[in-house]
């Protein structure tokens, strides 16, 4: 798994690539924590290069969404969610907790 951050004026975009499972989720969590700990609570997660995510990754997303939503208009949104990962998120009942966008720039523009 690899994760990169790009800062925009109103939000940060985290691009996550590869596979997020119990082995790599701590690294994914750390990247998310680094953003919220820097005082930024508007996050777009670009999943276009994501091949796989287990519930360990879902938990990291949920924990970060909780932190972000405590702050004024803070939120985690998802962009370009691959079909299989979308199906798993739906099964987990997560599609109601995260807005999803077809491209990262629209997601950035939503903030």
């Amino acid at each position: 798994m690899e994760v990169f951050k790009k800062e925009f004026k109103h939000c940060d975009v985290l691009t996550v690539k590869g596979r997020v499972d119990s082995a790599t989720a701590p690294q994914f969590s750390q990247a998310l924590d680094a953003v919220t700990e820097s005082g930024r609570y508007k996050i777009v997660i670009d999943m276009s290069g994501l091949e796989y995510m287990s519930s360990a990754g879902f938990r990291a997303l949920l924990a970060t969404q909780r932190i972000c939503k405590r702050y004024n208009r803070g939120e985690v949104v998802l962009a370009i969610v691959p079909e299989r990962i979308h199906e798993a998120l739906e099964l987990a009942g997560f599609t109601e907790l995260f807005k999803m966008y077809d491209d990262p720039l629209t997601a950035v523009g939503s903030f």
């Binding site: 119990s22 519930s55 360990a56 949920l62 924990a63 969404q65 907790l97």
Partner: protein, 136 residues
């Protein structure tokens, strides 16, 4: 049955997914089904590594895959602490963000992705988690 022994460590989840995914693919499961099977096996294995082997280093996780007719069976065998997934309450998927449970999600997904999940502890101290799924 095709059987592989893995060290009970999260770093081998990649290989576990590869093993069950290849077996399912070779036996005619669709790409979508293969993803579901890999996710279910990952959740099952992660759970064993996290709970059954919580205080154990060098634990062993044996995974067997078999096909009978159009039914795939995956058996995960460990020698750790018995941990019955039936004892975990399913998460409330209608709960709002703040009430949403963090735990129990992996087991819930595993059950939804497979047709049947069975757990048993044998007399000699092994725990067997059996997952089955019908093709098509």
């Amino acid at each position: 049955m095709k059987t592989v022994k893995f060290s009970a460590d999260f770093q081998f989840l990649d290989e576990i997914r590869e093993f069950v995914g290849q077996f399912a693919g070779e036996n005619g499961f669709s790409e979508k089904e293969v993803y579901s099977i890999q996710l279910a096996a990952d959740e099952a294995a992660s759970n064993i590594i996290e709970h059954a082997y919580v205080e154990v280093k060098n634990g062993e996780l044996e995974i067997s895959c078999g096909m009978e007719g159009d039914i795939l069976t995956i058996v995960l065998r460990d020698h750790g602490k018995s941990f019955n997934p039936d004892s975990v309450r399913p998460p409330n998927l209608k709960a709002g963000l703040s009430e949403r449970q963090i735990g129990g999600l992996g087991i819930y997904l595993m059950r939804k992705l497979m047709d049947d999940v069975k757990y048993e502890s044998t007399a000699n101290g092994d725990n067997l988690l059996t997952l089955t799924k019908r093709r098509g």
